[in-house]
């Protein structure tokens, strides 16, 4: 019998649901993109959904935990409770999207209210911000943990290092996942760093570093859960490298011509959803019937979310100056 790290059958099927939701919601966004209904770019997480979902599943959102995704971690905010209709509205720049048309894709969420906070585009900046969120949590005696995603490219930024170092020195309850998907836009990891592993970056600041197979859902859950437990117990910051692969280009416009075909083929065979489903079947946790039922439910939800988003209005141009400062009541 496989080790499930305390996850019940219901929880395993819950993870399966979020994995499927992430993949099918993204596929729906691709369809909307091709119909020119997505206003900006579309950034896929194909092949990386496993670690986004599994890592967020290790958090306790009732306790006030906060996850901070990057562009390819939509799965993590779905686990935190983000609504698919809101995500589609964001991509479609609708007036009743969470940001009322001001921001793109999954750049939304309030750490306290939603349990997740969207990134800004300057990679690395969210690490100091997550240090501040967890610092506030400690000052407020809330015993919450922060989970921040960064990439192989983003961990080259100065902001990443400053925030990582500060959080480590302060022993803040922060877990940083370095998503090693091998390409930052077109730049391969060997042009980002000569470190043997991205987890080695922890050595320089005195944090704990660990590497895990990012396409093994249970391994990511286990490693994140252990890091979250350490964080909650005041044992400080963990840098967790999850090794995975970006199976699509940087965004939908990018045909990935710079990635050798055989590498894409190799990683396509390591699909985290396929692996997880096979494991559930082999160990008697689920049957093909269970997966079909989950898929039916996800399809219904994605259809309903799409309808809701498509029927939503675009923002009124009258609103353009509102909500910049407190006092005009715009956001209340």
């Amino acid at each position: 019998m496989i080790e499930t790290f305390g996850l019940s059958r219901d929880q395993l099927l819950d993870i399966e649901y979020y994995l499927k939701l992430t993949r099918l919601l993204e596929e729906r966004l691709v369809a909307l993109f091709r119909q020119a209904k997505v206003i900006g770019g579309l950034y896929r997480s194909l092949g990386q959904e496993g670690e986004s979902v599994a890592a967020a599943y290790a958090l306790d959102f009732k306790q006030g935990d906060v996850v901070q995704p990057l562009i390819r971690n939509m799965g993590s905010i779905l686990v935190a409770g983000a609504r698919p209709a809101d995500i589609i509205r964001q991509y479609m720049a609708k007036g009743n999207s969470p940001t009322r048309g001001r921001e793109l894709n999954i750049h939304f969420g309030h750490p306290d209210r939603d349990g997740f906070i969207g990134q800004i585009s300057m990679l690395g900046d969210m690490i100091p911000v997550m240090a501040g969120i967890t610092l506030a949590g400690r000052m407020q005696k809330r015993n919450l943990v922060g989970l921040a995603f960064i990439g192989d490219g983003g961990s080259s930024t100065g902001a990443f290092w400053e925030g990582f170092n500060f959080a480590t020195v302060q022993r803040l309850p922060l877990v940083i996942i370095v998503e090693h998907n091998h390409y930052a836009y077109s730049t391969p990891t060997e042009k980002q760093t000569l470190a043997n592993t991205l987890a080695d970056k922890a050595l320089g600041v005195g944090a704990i570093g660990e590497t895990v197979d990012g396409n093994d859902v249970l391994a990511v859950y286990d490693a994140t859960k252990r890091a979250v437990t350490r964080a909650r117990n005041g044992e400080g910051v963990t840098l967790l490298e999850v090794k995975t692969f970006r199976l699509k280009g940087h965004a939908e416009h990018d045909n990935q011509s710079y990635v050798p075909r055989e590498i894409i083929d190799e990683w396509s065979g390591k699909d985290p959803l396929d692996r997880f489903e096979q494991l559930l079947v082999e160990n008697g946790f689920a049957t093909e019937e269970d997966f079909k039922a989950i898929e039916q439910r996800v399809k219904r939800e994605v259809d309903a979310a799409t309808d809701e988003a498509e029927q939503s209005p675009m923002p009124s141009s009258d609103e353009v100056t509102k909500g910049l400062f407190a006092g005009d009541g715009y956001w209340s």
Partner: protein, 324 residues
Amino acid sequence: MSETTYIEAITQAMAEEMARDERVFLIGEDVGAYGGAFKTSAGLIERFGPGRVIDTPISEIAIVGAASGAALMGMRPIAEMQFIDFITCAYDMLVNFAATSRYRVGSACPIVVRGPAGGGVHGGPFHSLNPEAMFMNRPGLKIVAPGTAYDAKGLLKAAIRDDDPVIYIEHKYLYRRIKENLPDDDYIVPIGKANIRRKGKDLTILTWGAMIYVADEAADELQKDGVSAEIIDLRSILPFDEEAILESVAKTNRVVILHEAPLTGGAGAEFAARIAEKAFDYLDAPIKRVAALDVPTPYSPPLEAAALPNKAKLLAAIRELLAY
């Protein structure tokens, strides 16, 4: 009433706000045990503990970023830049994260970023900055620059209580050079409100920060010639008190804008444009600007004096203005 220096006013404002509101904390380099490079936070760690007076690594991005993250969670951080010049290291975090947070996603980010600014103390190129213009074109920020101890205290309290990010520019030349009797009772100076420092009828000197004293000296000199200068101490650079500026110009019909930052692209350019757009009919002469030369602030005293504005440069500009 008690006699208080400009720097003591800042320390008092922080201490009183920390005592009033447990969400307020101070974060920066050497602010704790050492009490700050200029001793601005002297005594705070003893009174409020290391949990609320936080010494950081040399990491301005982390200081402003952590302050911003804590602010989203309902805290009221004061982030100290050891010299305001180092705010440039955190420019990205301020203008991209803190300034845009409310507009982009509806999340309030009430931080105060403060630190010693300005020249005249031979600090050289990296310890003399007047940064206001660098932030004026980034919507979402407020910028204040007190020139008196009264305003230093009242504006810092207002900044800490403000629901949006505020850059608080304190002039280090003034730290221990000026003293005033301050009220014992709690008060604030509202952000966005100018102070008519001296009433006059022949011309307006629009200025802020340490330059208000240069304006005073020039106005005293002009008085001897029977010329009455009005001095506006702007105090808030953003939002700025457009009404006070336009009213004064409508009365005096002549205006010189005086600031310590370099001329080109300085805040004065915006004020001049605003006056030209909205009070052109009242002007009897072109708008004048007196500012630093367009060079980095040099170290050696004769060079620094040549670069910065002073009474002689201001008076020369005013004489031209009066003769027009």
